[in-house]
Symmetry: C2
Protein backbone atom coordinates (compact mmCIF):
# COMPACT_ATOMS: atom_id res chain seq x y z
CA UNK A 1 0.00 0.00 0.00
CA UNK A 2 1.56 3.31 -1.07
CA UNK A 3 2.13 5.82 1.72
CA UNK A 4 1.73 9.51 0.92
CA UNK A 5 4.25 12.07 2.13
CA UNK A 6 1.65 13.79 4.24
CA UNK A 7 0.72 10.60 6.12
CA UNK A 8 4.41 9.90 6.70
CA UNK A 9 4.74 13.36 8.18
CA UNK A 10 1.76 12.70 10.46
CA UNK A 11 3.34 9.39 11.45
CA UNK A 12 6.67 11.00 12.39
CA UNK A 13 4.87 13.83 14.15
CA UNK A 14 2.80 11.31 16.09
CA UNK A 15 5.94 9.47 17.06
CA UNK A 16 7.25 12.50 18.90
CA UNK A 17 4.11 12.78 21.04
CA UNK A 18 4.55 11.05 24.37
CA UNK A 19 1.77 9.94 26.67
CA UNK A 20 2.49 10.66 30.35
CA UNK A 21 0.59 8.97 33.19
CA UNK A 22 0.67 10.74 36.54
CA UNK A 23 -0.57 9.59 39.95
CA UNK A 24 -1.71 12.39 42.22
CA UNK A 25 -2.35 12.86 45.94
CA UNK A 26 -4.41 15.91 46.83
CA UNK A 27 -6.16 17.56 49.73
CA UNK A 28 -9.45 18.67 48.19
CA UNK A 29 -10.33 21.08 51.02
CA UNK A 30 -9.51 24.25 49.07
CA UNK A 31 -10.69 23.08 45.63
CA UNK A 32 -13.96 22.94 43.74
CA UNK A 33 -13.18 19.39 42.73
CA UNK A 34 -11.09 17.92 39.96
CA UNK A 35 -12.68 19.30 36.82
CA UNK A 36 -11.77 22.65 35.24
CA UNK A 37 -14.50 25.26 35.85
CA UNK A 38 -14.94 28.91 35.15
CA UNK A 39 -14.02 31.14 38.10
CA UNK A 40 -13.28 28.26 40.51
CA UNK A 41 -9.99 26.73 41.60
CA UNK A 42 -9.82 23.08 40.61
CA UNK A 43 -7.11 20.41 40.74
CA UNK A 44 -7.15 19.91 36.97
CA UNK A 45 -6.70 23.63 36.37
CA UNK A 46 -3.78 23.89 38.83
CA UNK A 47 -1.87 21.06 37.19
CA UNK A 48 -2.70 22.20 33.64
CA UNK A 49 -1.43 25.70 34.50
CA UNK A 50 1.83 24.14 35.71
CA UNK A 51 2.06 22.04 32.50
CA UNK A 52 1.59 25.22 30.43
CA UNK A 53 4.41 26.88 32.36
CA UNK A 54 6.69 23.88 31.82
CA UNK A 55 5.95 23.13 28.18
CA UNK A 56 4.73 26.46 26.80
CA UNK A 57 1.80 24.52 25.32
CA UNK A 58 -1.80 24.19 26.35
CA UNK A 59 -1.93 20.62 27.63
CA UNK A 60 -5.15 18.87 28.59
CA UNK A 61 -5.25 16.37 31.46
CA UNK A 62 -7.56 13.36 31.29
CA UNK A 63 -8.35 11.87 34.71
CA UNK A 64 -9.73 8.48 35.73
CA UNK A 65 -12.82 10.42 36.75
CA UNK A 66 -13.89 13.61 38.45
CA UNK A 67 -13.82 14.10 42.16
CA UNK A 68 -16.28 16.57 43.62
CA UNK A 69 -15.58 19.74 45.62
CA UNK A 70 -13.86 18.94 48.92
CA UNK A 71 -13.11 15.30 48.04
CA UNK A 72 -9.52 14.10 48.52
CA UNK A 73 -7.31 11.66 46.64
CA UNK A 74 -4.34 9.51 47.57
CA UNK A 75 -4.09 7.94 44.13
CA UNK A 76 -5.96 9.81 41.40
CA UNK A 77 -4.59 8.95 37.94
CA UNK A 78 -4.47 11.25 34.91
CA UNK A 79 -2.66 11.32 31.60
CA UNK A 80 -1.60 13.93 29.06
CA UNK A 81 0.10 13.78 25.70
CA UNK A 82 2.90 16.16 24.94
CA UNK A 83 5.56 16.65 22.26
CA UNK A 84 8.48 17.19 24.62
CA UNK A 85 12.01 16.19 25.49
CA UNK A 86 11.29 16.52 29.21
CA UNK A 87 11.67 13.31 31.17
CA UNK A 88 8.94 11.91 33.46
CA UNK A 89 11.16 12.79 36.44
CA UNK A 90 11.47 16.38 35.18
CA UNK A 91 7.67 16.59 34.90
CA UNK A 92 7.19 15.16 38.39
CA UNK A 93 9.70 17.56 39.96
CA UNK A 94 8.46 20.53 37.96
CA UNK A 95 4.78 19.94 38.68
CA UNK A 96 5.52 19.44 42.38
CA UNK A 97 7.40 22.71 42.58
CA UNK A 98 4.82 24.66 40.53
CA UNK A 99 1.69 23.46 42.35
CA UNK A 100 0.79 24.24 45.95
CA UNK A 101 1.63 21.75 48.66
CA UNK A 102 -1.92 20.38 48.75
CA UNK A 103 -1.20 18.70 45.39
CA UNK A 104 1.59 16.12 45.15
CA UNK A 105 2.53 14.21 42.00
CA UNK A 106 3.42 10.78 43.39
CA UNK A 107 4.64 9.28 40.13
CA UNK A 108 5.04 10.11 36.45
CA UNK A 109 5.71 7.57 33.70
CA UNK A 110 5.65 7.39 29.92
CA UNK A 111 2.96 4.92 28.91
CA UNK A 112 1.61 3.46 25.69
CA UNK A 113 0.27 6.12 23.35
CA UNK A 114 -3.18 4.50 23.55
CA UNK A 115 -3.41 4.56 27.35
CA UNK A 116 -6.49 6.48 28.53
CA UNK A 117 -6.93 7.19 32.26
CA UNK A 118 -10.71 6.91 32.16
CA UNK A 119 -11.50 4.32 29.51
CA UNK A 120 -8.76 1.90 30.57
CA UNK A 121 -9.55 1.95 34.30
CA UNK A 122 -10.54 -1.56 35.44
CA UNK A 123 -11.57 -0.53 38.95
CA UNK A 124 -11.38 2.31 41.44
CA UNK A 125 -11.25 2.16 45.22
CA UNK A 126 -12.69 4.82 47.51
CA UNK A 127 -12.43 5.15 51.27
CA UNK A 128 -14.95 7.08 53.32
CA UNK A 129 -14.04 8.06 56.88
CA UNK A 130 -16.61 8.57 59.64
CA UNK A 131 -15.78 9.80 63.12
CA UNK A 132 -18.45 8.56 65.54
CA UNK A 133 -17.73 9.79 69.04
CA UNK A 134 -18.95 12.24 71.65
CA UNK A 135 -16.77 15.11 70.52
CA UNK A 136 -15.56 16.27 67.13
CA UNK A 137 -11.81 16.39 66.41
CA UNK A 138 -9.90 19.62 65.86
CA UNK A 139 -6.98 17.73 64.28
CA UNK A 140 -7.92 15.95 61.04
CA UNK A 141 -11.45 17.40 61.11
CA UNK A 142 -11.10 18.10 57.36
CA UNK A 143 -10.67 14.39 56.64
CA UNK A 144 -13.77 12.75 58.14
CA UNK A 145 -17.53 13.07 58.62
CA UNK A 146 -18.21 13.68 62.30
CA UNK A 147 -21.37 11.97 63.57
CA UNK A 148 -22.03 12.70 67.20
CA UNK A 149 -22.31 9.58 69.30
CA UNK A 150 -25.71 10.30 70.82
CA UNK A 151 -26.25 6.80 69.67
CA UNK A 152 -23.38 4.56 68.67
CA UNK A 153 -23.56 3.61 64.99
CA UNK A 154 -24.53 -0.06 64.67
CA UNK A 155 -21.54 -1.41 62.76
CA UNK A 156 -23.04 -4.90 62.32
CA UNK A 157 -26.22 -3.55 60.76
CA UNK A 158 -24.16 -1.26 58.51
CA UNK A 159 -22.03 -4.22 57.45
CA UNK A 160 -25.17 -6.22 56.58
CA UNK A 161 -26.55 -3.28 54.57
CA UNK A 162 -23.40 -2.69 52.61
CA UNK A 163 -23.04 -6.39 51.75
CA UNK A 164 -26.15 -6.01 49.55
CA UNK A 165 -24.32 -3.81 47.06
CA UNK A 166 -21.60 -6.36 46.25
CA UNK A 167 -21.92 -7.63 42.70
CA UNK A 168 -23.60 -6.10 39.65
CA UNK A 169 -26.58 -3.83 40.31
CA UNK A 170 -28.41 -0.88 38.89
CA UNK A 171 -27.38 1.98 41.21
CA UNK A 172 -29.95 4.50 40.02
CA UNK A 173 -31.18 4.91 43.63
CA UNK A 174 -27.74 6.18 44.64
CA UNK A 175 -27.01 8.37 41.64
CA UNK A 176 -26.63 12.13 41.94
CA UNK A 177 -28.09 14.29 39.22
CA UNK A 178 -25.81 15.33 36.40
CA UNK A 179 -23.94 12.04 36.08
CA UNK A 180 -22.25 11.76 32.68
CA UNK A 181 -23.20 8.09 32.04
CA UNK A 182 -24.79 5.86 29.43
CA UNK A 183 -26.29 3.47 32.00
CA UNK A 184 -26.51 3.14 35.79
CA UNK A 185 -25.33 -0.45 36.26
CA UNK A 186 -22.05 -0.90 38.08
CA UNK A 187 -20.18 -3.89 39.49
CA UNK A 188 -19.04 -3.63 43.12
CA UNK A 189 -15.98 -5.78 43.67
CA UNK A 190 -15.51 -5.01 47.36
CA UNK A 191 -17.58 -3.20 49.98
CA UNK A 192 -16.54 -3.25 53.58
CA UNK A 193 -16.62 -1.22 56.76
CA UNK A 194 -14.01 -1.48 59.49
CA UNK A 195 -13.58 0.18 62.88
CA UNK A 196 -10.17 1.73 63.49
CA UNK A 197 -10.54 2.66 67.15
CA UNK A 198 -11.32 5.97 68.85
CA UNK A 199 -14.61 6.21 66.93
CA UNK A 200 -13.06 6.16 63.46
CA UNK A 201 -14.82 3.96 60.89
CA UNK A 202 -13.65 3.42 57.34
CA UNK A 203 -15.80 2.32 54.41
CA UNK A 204 -13.90 0.75 51.55
CA UNK A 205 -15.61 0.41 48.20
CA UNK A 206 -14.06 -0.93 45.00
CA UNK A 207 -16.05 -0.97 41.76
CA UNK A 208 -15.54 -1.04 38.02
CA UNK A 209 -16.92 2.49 37.99
CA UNK A 210 -18.99 4.94 40.00
CA UNK A 211 -21.91 7.23 39.28
CA UNK A 212 -21.81 10.80 40.47
CA UNK A 213 -22.23 11.04 44.29
CA UNK A 214 -22.68 7.24 44.37
CA UNK A 215 -20.27 6.55 47.24
CA UNK A 216 -21.55 9.47 49.29
CA UNK A 217 -25.20 8.50 48.69
CA UNK A 218 -24.49 4.90 49.67
CA UNK A 219 -22.63 6.07 52.81
CA UNK A 220 -25.43 8.48 53.74
CA UNK A 221 -27.97 5.66 53.49
CA UNK A 222 -25.78 3.12 55.29
CA UNK A 223 -25.42 5.65 58.13
CA UNK A 224 -29.24 5.77 58.34
CA UNK A 225 -29.03 2.01 58.95
CA UNK A 226 -26.33 2.58 61.58
CA UNK A 227 -28.55 5.12 63.34
CA UNK A 228 -31.50 2.71 63.29
CA UNK A 229 -33.62 4.96 61.07
CA UNK A 230 -33.95 2.15 58.54
CA UNK A 231 -33.00 -1.54 58.57
CA UNK A 232 -30.44 -3.31 56.39
CA UNK A 233 -33.44 -4.90 54.66
CA UNK A 234 -34.81 -1.43 53.90
CA UNK A 235 -31.40 -0.57 52.45
CA UNK A 236 -31.69 -3.49 50.04
CA UNK A 237 -35.21 -2.40 49.06
CA UNK A 238 -33.93 1.11 48.34
CA UNK A 239 -31.20 -0.31 46.09
CA UNK A 240 -33.75 -2.44 44.21
CA UNK A 241 -36.25 0.43 43.95
CA UNK A 242 -33.87 2.48 41.75
CA UNK A 243 -35.56 5.48 43.34
CA UNK A 244 -33.17 8.23 44.51
CA UNK A 245 -35.88 9.87 46.62
CA UNK A 246 -35.95 6.82 48.92
CA UNK A 247 -32.22 6.84 49.70
CA UNK A 248 -30.58 8.82 52.50
CA UNK A 249 -28.83 12.17 52.33
CA UNK A 250 -25.54 12.60 50.50
CA UNK A 251 -22.66 12.22 52.98
CA UNK A 252 -20.43 15.32 53.12
CA UNK A 253 -17.38 15.43 50.81
CA UNK A 254 -14.54 15.75 53.34
CA UNK A 255 -14.72 12.06 54.38
CA UNK A 256 -14.17 10.77 50.84
CA UNK A 257 -10.80 9.67 49.43
CA UNK A 258 -10.07 8.25 45.98
CA UNK A 259 -7.47 5.69 47.04
CA UNK A 260 -6.34 4.09 43.78
CA UNK A 261 -7.22 3.20 40.22
CA UNK A 262 -6.42 -0.21 38.76
CA UNK A 263 -5.61 -0.71 35.05
CA UNK B 1 -10.16 36.14 116.39
CA UNK B 2 -12.98 38.55 115.52
CA UNK B 3 -14.10 38.60 111.92
CA UNK B 4 -15.13 41.92 110.41
CA UNK B 5 -18.27 42.26 108.31
CA UNK B 6 -16.25 43.23 105.26
CA UNK B 7 -14.07 40.10 105.39
CA UNK B 8 -17.19 37.98 105.82
CA UNK B 9 -18.59 39.59 102.70
CA UNK B 10 -15.37 38.81 100.81
CA UNK B 11 -15.58 35.24 102.11
CA UNK B 12 -19.14 34.74 100.86
CA UNK B 13 -18.27 36.45 97.60
CA UNK B 14 -15.27 34.18 97.18
CA UNK B 15 -17.42 31.15 97.86
CA UNK B 16 -19.51 31.90 94.79
CA UNK B 17 -16.48 31.99 92.51
CA UNK B 18 -15.90 28.66 90.84
CA UNK B 19 -12.68 27.49 89.27
CA UNK B 20 -13.18 25.69 85.95
CA UNK B 21 -10.52 23.48 84.39
CA UNK B 22 -10.81 22.85 80.65
CA UNK B 23 -8.88 20.49 78.39
CA UNK B 24 -8.55 21.68 74.82
CA UNK B 25 -7.69 20.13 71.45
CA UNK B 26 -6.74 22.60 68.75
CA UNK B 27 -5.37 22.80 65.26
CA UNK B 28 -2.86 25.64 65.51
CA UNK B 29 -2.57 26.13 61.72
CA UNK B 30 -4.67 29.31 61.59
CA UNK B 31 -3.55 30.82 64.91
CA UNK B 32 -0.69 32.93 66.17
CA UNK B 33 -0.26 30.60 69.09
CA UNK B 34 -2.02 30.36 72.42
CA UNK B 35 -1.38 33.74 74.02
CA UNK B 36 -3.57 36.80 73.49
CA UNK B 37 -1.90 39.37 71.19
CA UNK B 38 -2.84 42.62 69.63
CA UNK B 39 -4.14 42.26 66.06
CA UNK B 40 -3.54 38.51 65.83
CA UNK B 41 -5.94 35.58 66.20
CA UNK B 42 -4.93 33.38 69.11
CA UNK B 43 -6.50 30.38 70.83
CA UNK B 44 -6.71 32.18 74.18
CA UNK B 45 -8.51 35.12 72.61
CA UNK B 46 -11.03 32.89 70.78
CA UNK B 47 -12.00 31.05 73.96
CA UNK B 48 -12.03 34.21 76.10
CA UNK B 49 -14.35 35.87 73.57
CA UNK B 50 -16.68 32.88 73.84
CA UNK B 51 -16.52 33.08 77.67
CA UNK B 52 -17.43 36.78 77.49
CA UNK B 53 -20.43 35.92 75.30
CA UNK B 54 -21.54 33.19 77.71
CA UNK B 55 -21.01 34.98 81.02
CA UNK B 56 -21.20 38.67 80.10
CA UNK B 57 -17.97 39.10 82.09
CA UNK B 58 -14.39 39.53 81.00
CA UNK B 59 -12.88 36.19 81.97
CA UNK B 60 -9.16 35.47 81.82
CA UNK B 61 -7.86 32.01 80.90
CA UNK B 62 -4.68 30.68 82.48
CA UNK B 63 -3.05 27.90 80.45
CA UNK B 64 -0.46 25.28 81.41
CA UNK B 65 1.85 27.23 79.13
CA UNK B 66 1.92 29.01 75.79
CA UNK B 67 2.10 27.21 72.50
CA UNK B 68 3.69 29.09 69.61
CA UNK B 69 2.16 30.06 66.28
CA UNK B 70 1.22 26.98 64.24
CA UNK B 71 1.71 24.51 67.11
CA UNK B 72 -1.15 22.09 67.83
CA UNK B 73 -2.58 20.57 71.00
CA UNK B 74 -4.49 17.42 71.80
CA UNK B 75 -4.55 18.11 75.54
CA UNK B 76 -3.79 21.71 76.46
CA UNK B 77 -5.15 22.56 79.93
CA UNK B 78 -6.41 25.94 81.09
CA UNK B 79 -8.50 27.25 83.96
CA UNK B 80 -10.68 30.28 84.67
CA UNK B 81 -12.59 31.47 87.68
CA UNK B 82 -16.12 32.71 87.29
CA UNK B 83 -19.06 33.66 89.47
CA UNK B 84 -21.69 31.70 87.59
CA UNK B 85 -24.53 29.23 87.85
CA UNK B 86 -23.54 27.62 84.55
CA UNK B 87 -22.54 23.96 84.84
CA UNK B 88 -19.26 22.58 83.45
CA UNK B 89 -21.30 20.76 80.79
CA UNK B 90 -22.98 24.04 79.80
CA UNK B 91 -19.56 25.68 79.47
CA UNK B 92 -18.22 22.81 77.39
CA UNK B 93 -21.21 22.81 75.03
CA UNK B 94 -21.32 26.60 74.83
CA UNK B 95 -17.61 27.04 74.15
CA UNK B 96 -17.72 24.29 71.50
CA UNK B 97 -20.58 25.95 69.69
CA UNK B 98 -19.10 29.47 69.96
CA UNK B 99 -15.56 28.64 68.81
CA UNK B 100 -14.59 27.49 65.33
CA UNK B 101 -14.21 23.80 64.64
CA UNK B 102 -10.41 23.97 64.93
CA UNK B 103 -10.86 24.37 68.70
CA UNK B 104 -12.59 21.61 70.70
CA UNK B 105 -13.14 21.66 74.46
CA UNK B 106 -12.61 18.01 75.37
CA UNK B 107 -13.58 18.33 79.03
CA UNK B 108 -14.67 20.89 81.59
CA UNK B 109 -14.72 20.36 85.36
CA UNK B 110 -15.02 22.40 88.52
CA UNK B 111 -11.76 22.08 90.44
CA UNK B 112 -10.36 23.30 93.75
CA UNK B 113 -10.30 27.08 93.95
CA UNK B 114 -6.52 26.98 94.33
CA UNK B 115 -5.91 24.93 91.18
CA UNK B 116 -3.58 26.77 88.77
CA UNK B 117 -3.01 25.30 85.28
CA UNK B 118 0.58 26.48 85.06
CA UNK B 119 1.93 26.36 88.63
CA UNK B 120 0.36 23.00 89.44
CA UNK B 121 1.49 21.18 86.30
CA UNK B 122 3.78 18.28 87.24
CA UNK B 123 4.77 17.39 83.70
CA UNK B 124 3.91 18.02 80.09
CA UNK B 125 4.25 15.70 77.11
CA UNK B 126 4.92 16.87 73.57
CA UNK B 127 4.99 14.87 70.35
CA UNK B 128 6.89 16.03 67.30
CA UNK B 129 6.10 14.40 63.94
CA UNK B 130 8.62 14.11 61.11
CA UNK B 131 7.82 12.72 57.68
CA UNK B 132 11.02 11.38 56.11
CA UNK B 133 10.33 10.03 52.63
CA UNK B 134 10.89 10.81 48.96
CA UNK B 135 7.73 12.83 48.51
CA UNK B 136 5.81 15.19 50.75
CA UNK B 137 2.20 14.38 51.70
CA UNK B 138 -0.78 16.44 50.53
CA UNK B 139 -3.01 14.91 53.22
CA UNK B 140 -1.86 15.74 56.78
CA UNK B 141 0.92 18.02 55.48
CA UNK B 142 -0.08 20.56 58.17
CA UNK B 143 0.74 18.06 60.92
CA UNK B 144 4.36 17.07 60.28
CA UNK B 145 7.80 18.35 59.28
CA UNK B 146 8.63 16.94 55.86
CA UNK B 147 12.31 16.05 55.44
CA UNK B 148 13.09 14.74 51.99
CA UNK B 149 14.68 11.33 52.01
CA UNK B 150 17.77 12.20 49.99
CA UNK B 151 19.38 10.43 52.86
CA UNK B 152 17.36 8.33 55.26
CA UNK B 153 17.43 9.79 58.78
CA UNK B 154 19.57 7.59 61.02
CA UNK B 155 17.07 6.61 63.69
CA UNK B 156 19.61 4.80 65.86
CA UNK B 157 21.93 7.81 66.01
CA UNK B 158 18.96 10.07 66.76
CA UNK B 159 17.89 7.74 69.57
CA UNK B 160 21.41 7.86 71.05
CA UNK B 161 21.45 11.65 70.85
CA UNK B 162 18.07 12.12 72.47
CA UNK B 163 18.94 9.73 75.31
CA UNK B 164 21.45 12.35 76.51
CA UNK B 165 18.69 14.78 77.51
CA UNK B 166 16.95 12.39 79.93
CA UNK B 167 17.31 13.60 83.53
CA UNK B 168 18.00 17.05 84.91
CA UNK B 169 20.05 19.40 82.74
CA UNK B 170 20.56 23.05 81.99
CA UNK B 171 18.86 23.50 78.60
CA UNK B 172 20.25 26.94 77.84
CA UNK B 173 21.65 25.62 74.53
CA UNK B 174 18.11 24.78 73.37
CA UNK B 175 16.34 27.88 74.66
CA UNK B 176 14.70 30.36 72.30
CA UNK B 177 15.02 34.03 73.11
CA UNK B 178 12.22 35.63 75.08
CA UNK B 179 11.61 32.72 77.44
CA UNK B 180 9.75 33.87 80.56
CA UNK B 181 11.82 31.83 83.06
CA UNK B 182 13.80 32.20 86.27
CA UNK B 183 16.30 29.47 85.38
CA UNK B 184 17.04 27.16 82.45
CA UNK B 185 17.24 23.80 84.26
CA UNK B 186 14.55 21.27 83.41
CA UNK B 187 14.01 17.61 84.18
CA UNK B 188 13.28 15.32 81.21
CA UNK B 189 11.24 12.33 82.35
CA UNK B 190 10.97 10.63 78.96
CA UNK B 191 12.55 11.21 75.55
CA UNK B 192 12.01 8.76 72.78
CA UNK B 193 11.73 8.48 69.04
CA UNK B 194 9.71 5.81 67.25
CA UNK B 195 9.12 4.95 63.61
CA UNK B 196 5.49 4.57 62.62
CA UNK B 197 5.91 3.30 59.07
CA UNK B 198 5.68 5.05 55.69
CA UNK B 199 8.43 7.48 56.75
CA UNK B 200 6.60 8.88 59.79
CA UNK B 201 8.71 9.33 62.93
CA UNK B 202 7.40 10.55 66.26
CA UNK B 203 9.46 12.15 69.01
CA UNK B 204 7.92 11.95 72.46
CA UNK B 205 9.26 14.22 75.18
CA UNK B 206 7.91 14.50 78.72
CA UNK B 207 9.42 17.02 81.16
CA UNK B 208 8.54 18.93 84.29
CA UNK B 209 8.58 22.05 82.13
CA UNK B 210 9.88 23.45 78.87
CA UNK B 211 11.72 26.58 77.82
CA UNK B 212 10.51 28.52 74.83
CA UNK B 213 11.25 26.67 71.53
CA UNK B 214 13.00 23.97 73.59
CA UNK B 215 11.33 20.96 71.92
CA UNK B 216 11.72 22.40 68.43
CA UNK B 217 15.39 23.30 69.05
CA UNK B 218 16.10 19.82 70.39
CA UNK B 219 14.32 18.25 67.40
CA UNK B 220 16.19 20.48 64.94
CA UNK B 221 19.51 19.43 66.47
CA UNK B 222 18.58 15.74 66.71
CA UNK B 223 17.67 15.87 62.99
CA UNK B 224 21.19 17.17 62.30
CA UNK B 225 22.39 13.97 63.99
CA UNK B 226 19.97 11.93 61.83
CA UNK B 227 21.36 13.60 58.70
CA UNK B 228 24.94 12.86 59.77
CA UNK B 229 25.88 16.55 60.03
CA UNK B 230 26.88 16.00 63.66
CA UNK B 231 27.30 12.91 65.86
CA UNK B 232 25.28 11.96 68.93
CA UNK B 233 28.45 12.80 70.89
CA UNK B 234 28.40 16.30 69.37
CA UNK B 235 24.77 16.57 70.46
CA UNK B 236 25.78 15.86 74.05
CA UNK B 237 28.57 18.48 73.82
CA UNK B 238 26.08 21.07 72.54
CA UNK B 239 23.77 20.32 75.51
CA UNK B 240 26.68 20.71 77.95
CA UNK B 241 27.98 23.87 76.22
CA UNK B 242 24.79 25.81 77.14
CA UNK B 243 25.49 27.74 73.93
CA UNK B 244 22.44 28.26 71.69
CA UNK B 245 24.63 29.24 68.74
CA UNK B 246 26.02 25.68 68.58
CA UNK B 247 22.62 23.95 68.37
CA UNK B 248 20.72 23.25 65.15
CA UNK B 249 17.90 25.23 63.59
CA UNK B 250 14.48 25.44 65.22
CA UNK B 251 12.21 22.74 63.75
CA UNK B 252 9.07 24.19 62.13
CA UNK B 253 5.93 24.51 64.29
CA UNK B 254 3.47 22.31 62.38
CA UNK B 255 5.05 19.05 63.63
CA UNK B 256 4.58 19.91 67.30
CA UNK B 257 1.68 18.72 69.47
CA UNK B 258 1.11 19.39 73.16
CA UNK B 259 -0.29 15.95 74.06
CA UNK B 260 -1.17 16.24 77.74
CA UNK B 261 -0.44 17.91 81.05
CA UNK B 262 -0.15 15.93 84.26
CA UNK B 263 -1.15 17.37 87.65
Amino acid sequence: MPVSWSSLFILSKKKMMKNFKITIEYDGTSYHGWQRQKNERTIQEEIEKALLTMTGKKTVLTASGRTDAGVHALGQVANFTCDTDLSPQAFQNGLNSLTKDDIVIISCDIVDENFHSRFDAKSKTYHYKILNRNLPAAIDRQYAWFIRKRKRLDLDAMGRAISHIIGTHDFKAFEGSGSPRSHTTRCIIKADIVEQGNGLMIFEIEANGFLRFMVRNIVGTVVDVGLGKITSGDFKKILLSKDRSRAGATAPPQGLFLMNVKY
